[in-house]
Symmetry: C2
Subunit: 207 residues, 2 copies
DNA sequence: TACATTATGAACGATTGCGTTCAATTATAC
DNA sequence: GTATAATTGAACGCAATCGTTCATAATGTA
């Protein structure tokens, strides 16, 4: 219960919290947890090191906070564009384009790369990420395909597997390659490949 | 020229070099370059720290040596099983199974995860990896499909894109998910999905 | 046995970085 | 203005680690 009773003292600066988390995100994702420097984070965010330790008990806590913020940010993105009325091909293309748009963002790619590495020693971080992003994505895509099956637009199949197939067709080698090169995939080029991928998917699964 | 002239002194212990590289691989890929400890590597490989510095000038040099060894190890694997005489479906299934077999090896997955992260600060490492593995893989798969096109087994198409499609169909979500969970993909299950993926590929590209 | 080189172990200097302490300053409510 | 809490800057203890030095031991050839 927030009694609205205002304390008679200096309030915490909420802007600073975001600044800290922003700087921490960059530092952690660029150098990794171990090599990240709290002092650098303090300097970049324009905040005293003590302030950071006042708000986040340890380096681990700060890292967890960063990951959590990124995860909620991610899960907010996946809203299935189940625009009824348009045909399946258009729906799948829209879905694919949204997905590609999202996945090719530099900061998303950096997030992915870093979580993959950190999960080596911190499995719970990997789980958090999976639940916030990939599993959600698969669930929604599967639901979309199940609805298509029930409408008879595509033939009956294991829709979860089909979702994986569509995802794979869209990404091809590109997302794989992009993880290891500084200049990620050309989002524009990947966009152009989406219709092709969807058409191959419909060749394979269409009625 | 190796004149066969034997030096009259204690020779270098070649076994130790491998031991060092093995320990270094584990340490680097588990903790990342920055957090890896040379002293741990020395202890695990049963070698003095000075010996390591005698053979590898710096930590960076040692890391580079590890990456290079892993890369040559990888490039040695990709021999296209272009068994002529078998039909395309069998050929693609064999290719897929070999690929899955290789990619799901725990030490290969750890290599991938770590290179992805390190490439953030060391692009040249990412390039090395790409040339040793993924690009080679794509080249061979593309060649296989081109030969299939010329034989009329599948219809004419952009074979490099088709190769990406086949790769994507085979991996689906699984390789993606596996990067973030401690228990990787069930290689057995992935194996079973290969024929399905190949059949969907042939649905889409078959003549 | 004498020699040449590799390998070891222990210690060192220098750096970095976490997390803490403390006195001083700032911002807000009353 | 005063009380209260947030924030700062500087300094500290402590541990880890890179890379080096050096005296000593081990291992091979001649």
């Amino acid at each position: 219960m927030d009694t609205g009773k205002k304390p008679r003292h200096r309030p915490v600066d909420l802007v600073k919290r975001e600044a800290i988390l922003d700087a921490a995100r960059d530092e952690f994702f660029t150098h990794g947890f171990a090599a990240a420097s709290i002092e650098t984070i303090a300097a970049v965010s324009g905040v005293s090191k003590v302030t950071i330790y006042n708000r986040f008990k340890t380096k681990e806590t700060l890292f967890a906070a960063v990951v959590e913020r990124q995860c909620t940010m991610m899960s907010a993105v996946f809203v299935a564009p189940d625009a009824p009325g348009t045909d399946l091909r258009q729906q799948l293309i829209a879905f694919g384009e949204t997905m590609v748009d999202f996945l090719t963002q530099p900061h998303v790619m950096r997030f992915e790369r870093r979580i993959g590495a950190e999960a080596e020693l911190r499995p719970e971080v990997g789980e958090l990420f999976l639940n916030a992003g990939p599993r959600r994505l698969r669930r929604e895509l599967t639901a979309l395909l199940e609805s298509a099956v029930s409408k008879g637009t595509i033939r009956p199949c294991d829709c979860e597997m089909a979702a994986g197939h569509l995802y794979g067709l869209i990404c091809g080698f590109d997302m794989f390659f992009a993880r290891f090169s500084e200049n990620g995939p050309d989002p524009h080029q990947l966009q152009q490949q989406v219709p092709d991928a969807v058409d191959r998917f419909l060749d394979a699964y269409g009625d």
